[in-house]
Symmetry: C2
Subunit: 309 residues, 2 copies
């Protein structure tokens, strides 16, 4: 079984949507990535940091799902990273109400010995210096996937570019791709970003799906149109976790197989948004996941008639 | 050869984009629909109205392309409908700079005798009373397709609803689907709109593709990601024209064939935006169209591996 090393925040989120609001609940990129990846036959570990206020039951939850937590440092006299946000009817945009870095401010990631040779490394959205430190600790990885966001492009672009130069796949959203490349056309943006290092560029467009670029090839997966989007928090990380988990299980990093990985990621993300926070992902059974994969197929697959014209 | 009756504006447009601006050029929904549909083996006619200022060369252009112009009324002492708009880098939105209805204000459509039995009727975006008048003149049509916009929802909702009740397919954009149905979710919106009459609902999302809904079935076509979108004017009408033209040629109005029609429409729209106005559509060869259809196929078709998980 391949190893998947996940670096990302394990956090508290407080979320408001038009459908309700939560108290502090389990959140963070590392959490969502791991809970998506565990739907695949992979040996996953999270590298992260939490405070003494982080409930043991959440760590137990990871362990019950065979997600290794050795790399989750607990700073007993510190507080866990906290994020609070509000969504409106157009769930493509959100307002951040509060961000408390807490223990994340001084995070020095330590990759557990047993995962330094992980075949797949998923760098969740974090300070590029943290991501680079993880890259310096791993060896012989076959695939490194990077997620990042505009904040790091604004604040630490040069450090971010050094990380980008070292990864195989980058996943960012459309606005971020435009910012990073200074190109409006996503086709041109993806080409420029490939020149920065990653052989594969995944551009996430939220409810509008995701694009995969590799050399002159292009592939698109829609997001599944849903009756109700309850809470988009974690959808992008769930996408990345499904993408990474599928690739780690299948151990095939070709463009053809990346297409499937994009569909698998989109599929899991479509579940994530149906309930608040991680709720839907926690008890999501694999036969339900497979069933929806077939729905995805129906949504885009067709036989086109040749016309006489 | 099936007949396709097209009702829509034949107009002058003046367009500004970040890439340049035009003087008054040939435009209008009827024009774009007809220029897309003529890529298929159909016998098309436009029903519209122009003023004495409308150049004969434009009418000749239609005729050279075997588009019947008998139903284009010429009001010698009137002026042709004029629209002027400006696009910014985000081409999903545009500012209307000027609209002069001119001869369109008193337009009473007259369907040529030979096209009253057209198999397919494409009602381009116009006042619902004009669309209804056309429906009252046709007989035995197999498929009626309606395009409309938010303006008519704001101004003439009851009249619009009477037209909607009589058509087989409606094509509108995502915001309009939400406005018409008072549902934010496009899945729910499409269901409500089906209850208003149309068995098929096509929701256009511009650069984000198009969705087709029929009963509990759903199909999605992306827009082709392009290096450069030069001018989006007419893309929606070109989509509708390709959709209608393909259906008229193939004479198969099943959900399966509508999937292909959506792809054909998206394919033609991807050409339309590559040059100003109708320029690209005018000399677009069929082998080029077929070649890009294969690109569309590559963009979304995949074989998914079954995983062991």
């Amino acid at each position: 079984m391949n190893k998947l090393l996940i670096v990302g925040t394990v956090a508290f989120d407080a979320i408001e949507t038009p459908f309700g609001k939560t108290d502090k609940i389990l959140g963070g990129a590392g959490t969502y990535i791991a809970l998506a990846a565990e739907k695949y036959k992979v040996d996953s570990a999270i590298v992260s940091v939490v405070g003494g206020d982080f409930p043991n039951e959440y760590l137990d939850l990871f362990r019950r799902k065979k997600i290794n937590t050795q790399g989750i440092e607990i700073v007993q006299d510190g507080k866990t990273f906290f994020w609070s946000g509000r969504y409106h009817h157009d769930m493509n945009k959100r307002d951040t109400l509060d961000t408390q870095l807490n223990v994340l401010a001084d995070f020095r990631p330590k990759v557990p010995e047993a995962y330094k040779n992980a075949e797949v490394v998923m760098l969740g959205n974090l300070h590029p210096a943290v991501q680079m430190s993880v890259l310096e600790q791993v060896e012989n990885s076959s695939l490194i996937i990077l997620d990042t966001m505009n904040f790091w492009m604004d604040q630490t672009l040069e450090e971010l570019k050094e990380v980008i130069a070292k990864v195989d796949v980058i996943t960012i959203n459309d606005e971020e791709a435009r910012q990073l490349s200074e190109e409006y056309s996503l086709v041109k943006a993806a080409r420029k970003i490939q020149e920065m290092g990653p052989k594969f560029v995944v551009i996430k467009k939220g409810e509008h799906g995701a694009l995969l670029f590799h050399q002159d090839q292009m592939f698109f997966s829609p997001a599944l149109p849903l009756e109700e989007v309850f809470d988009p928090t974690g959808a992008g990380d769930t996408f990345a976790g499904g993408f990474a988990g599928y690739l780690a299980e299948t151990n095939d990093f070709s463009f053809e197989n990346m297409k499937s990985a994009i569909i698998h990621g989109s599929n899991l993300a479509s579940f994530c948004v149906e309930k608040f926070g991680t709720e839907k992902m926690l008890d999501l059974e694999r036969n339900i996941i497979k069933k929806r994969l077939r729905l995805f197929k129906q949504l885009t697959q067709y036989e086109i008639k040749e016309t006489n014209s």
